[in-house]
Symmetry: C2
Amino acid sequence: MSRAQRLLDLIQVLRRHRRAVAGAVLAEELGISLRTLYRDIETLKAQGAHIDGEAGIGYVLRPGFMLPPLMFSEEEIEALVLGSRWVSDRADGILGKAARNVLAKIGAVLPDDLKYGIDASGLLIGPGEPIAVGDHELAAIRQAIRTERKLRIDYADEHGNATQRTVWPVALAFFDRVRVIVAWCELRDGYRHFRCDRIAALETSSERYPRRRAVLLKEWRILRGIPEQ
Amino acid sequence: MSRAQRLLDLIQVLRRHRRAVAGAVLAEELGISLRTLYRDIETLKAQGAHIDGEAGIGYVLRPGFMLPPLMFSEEEIEALVLGSRWVSDRADGILGKAARNVLAKIGAVLPDDLKYGIDASGLLIGPGEPIAVGDHELAAIRQAIRTERKLRIDYADEHGNATQRTVWPVALAFFDRVRVIVAWCELRDGYRHFRCDRIAALETSSERYPRRRAVLLKEWRILRGIPEQ
DNA sequence: GAACATGCTGTCAGTTATTGTCAGTAGTCA
DNA sequence: TGACTACTGACAATAACTGACAGCATGTTC
């Protein structure tokens, strides 16, 4: 196996272990010596991987993705830049910042003439209507979706009737002017949609919901007849 | 220098030469033997680089970008996926296909559990209003912007007055419901905006416009007070 | 504090991968 | 045809990688 491949494998092995892992364990799994493992970790860190090593504890990989060398066509990079700009402009501040980080990371590794090409990309996002809900809420909702946590919300429906519900957030849909949470509603015992701008209060529960999100998402898609994107 | 670094350098050297380059020239520039160059080209091709080699001619790199190994955080990947989905849904068909290619390429190199994570990403793009202009026009406009070609358009302004103009397309702005070309108008001798849905006919000229697009874009930004994205 | 677990670094010899040289085949252009 | 070029195989020289060992620093546990 090539060294490059082994480095990617190492990332994956690290990902599998949620908690800290001793270098000796990693070396064992990869079939290499401890000394070589240390050298590999060093190389990965130099390549930008977020690996934290602490004496007496082991190694932890901060959640993320390591991409091997990839080739993109001009059109694909245009799509990537345009998409990131849209997110930068229209999503919540935290996700927008992440989108700008993506552009910066890609820009940082491109030769100067191409870096300039990203800045001067001919595709722009026109200003849109302001988002009706604050940054903090959207970030909390995304976090709850990712970690499969229950949400407690104070919600007002289109007629102004206020209810308090516990829901299992499955997805966050971005429309031109509104954001909508797709969730299983414990109150109604079914899938419901909640416009973010009608949520009066929101609290993330520490309790995980009892089914896998991917399964719920698929179920909802079939119920609503929504194809995969 | 590591081999991995040299492979990226090779891509960059290939980029610099617009026309076909002989392998011997590339080997010389990189300070390696011809035989090693052939081996490097082979490796790059195996990694997905679009390098065409023809006996008697030399090597040509199809326009594109080679990214070295990169680390993205969870949030950055979410932003990337969401942005690509937006482009996939809202831009013209060709760019949309490129966006789906981006997702497929990234998905292809991720371990299975993460590939599933991309499909099941909790951020969705809600359906929007249909685009008021055909795929073909948008693709042609993007092409003209990229190659700095003049466009001849039949345009109707908001009052219905029809004019025929030659313009220098600088950028394409995506609003929620319309697409707008930013261009220097030869008829008006100034920057003008043209809604794509009001263009009755469009023809790409073979003539390049006489100034650099990046300069025009900057000039327009300053005139209109639009910050860099 | 003591015992232990772990990260981290240096050295060196053996192993593996990479490289250059040489020789040869075949396609393209004028 | 001749000049130029891509491409492949074989092999020896060279460079990089690896494992084993020794040692130190830092953190955890009792």
